[in-house]
Symmetry: C2
Subunit: 130 residues, 2 copies
C-alpha cells in the first residue's frame, strides 16, 4: 500500500475526535446515572476504564471539559468537597434533565449504531465479492 502512514494517522485522529465528541458525553451521563453516589473525575474515569479501551483510552484529561460542559448545560450538578489527602475534589451527580437527556441520547445512539453497522455489513460483503 503506497499510502503514507502519517496521512492515515491524521485521518484517524480526526475521525476519532468526531466519533468521541458525542459518545464521551453519552458514557459520562450513563456512568453518573448508574452511580449510587456523586462521583469525582478520577472515579468516573476508573469506572469507564473497567469496560476496557474505548475512545477514552489514556485520555482521562479529556473528561474534564466534557464534565464542565454537561454541568453548564444543566445535565449534571456538582459540588466541591475537601479530600482527606490532596486538593479538594469536585463531585458530580446527574440531574433530572440529565436523566431525560440520557434516555433520548441512548435511543439515538442505538439507531445510529444499528444504521452504521448495517451499512458497513452490507457494503463490506459486497466489496469482498468483487
Amino acid at each position: 500500500m503506497a499510502v503514507a502512514v502519517t496521512e492515515l494517522e491524521i485521518h484517524l485522529k480526526k475521525f476519532e475526535k468526531e466519533l468521541s465528541a458525542g459518545s464521551v458525553s453519552l458514557v459520562l451521563l450513563a456512568v453518573l446515572a448508574g452511580a449510587e453516589e456523586p462521583m469525582y473525575g478520577y472515579l468516573i474515569a476508573k469506572r469507564l476504564a473497567d469496560g476496557g479501551e474505548g475512545v477514552l483510552a489514556g485520555k482521562q484529561s479529556a473528561l474534564y471539559p466534557v464534565l464542565r460542559n454537561l454541568s453548564a448545560a444543566g445535565l449534571l450538578d456538582s459540588e466541591v468537597e475537601p479530600s482527606v489527602a490532596g486538593p479538594p475534589r469536585r463531585y458530580y451527580r446527574i440531574t433530572a434533565l440529565g436523566r431525560a437527556v440520557l434516555e433520548q441520547w441512548t435511543a439515538s445512539w442505538t439507531t445510529t449504531r444499528d444504521f452504521v453497522d448495517s451499512v458497513l455489513e452490507r457494503n463490506t460483503s459486497r466489496g469482498a465479492k468483487s
Copy 2:
C-alpha cells in the same frame, strides 16, 4: 417529568450532530468501497436509505458537503458527467487512500461502539437496581 420538551430537543439535536459528524463519513466511504461503479449523490443516498432510518433520515442534502470534504482530503475521486435528462452529475469513487482510511475507521468504529455499548449496559442495569 418537569423538563421542557424544547430543551430536550436542543440537546438531542446537538448530540445527533456530533454523533453523525464521524459516522456519515464512515458510511459514505463504506458505500463507495462496496460499489462496483462510480456513484452520484442521489444513488448513494438511496443505497444508504436501503438500510432504514439512521442519522441521515431525510437529510440527503447533508451528504454533499461530506462528499466534498472526503474528495478534498483525497479519499474520493470525482468526475462530472452529463446526464440523459437534467443537469450533469458528479460521480464519486473511492481512492486507495480512502480504502486504507476506511479500514482504520471501521476498526475504530468497532472499538468505540463496543465501548459505548458496554458502558451503557453496565450502568443501565446498575441504575435499574437502585
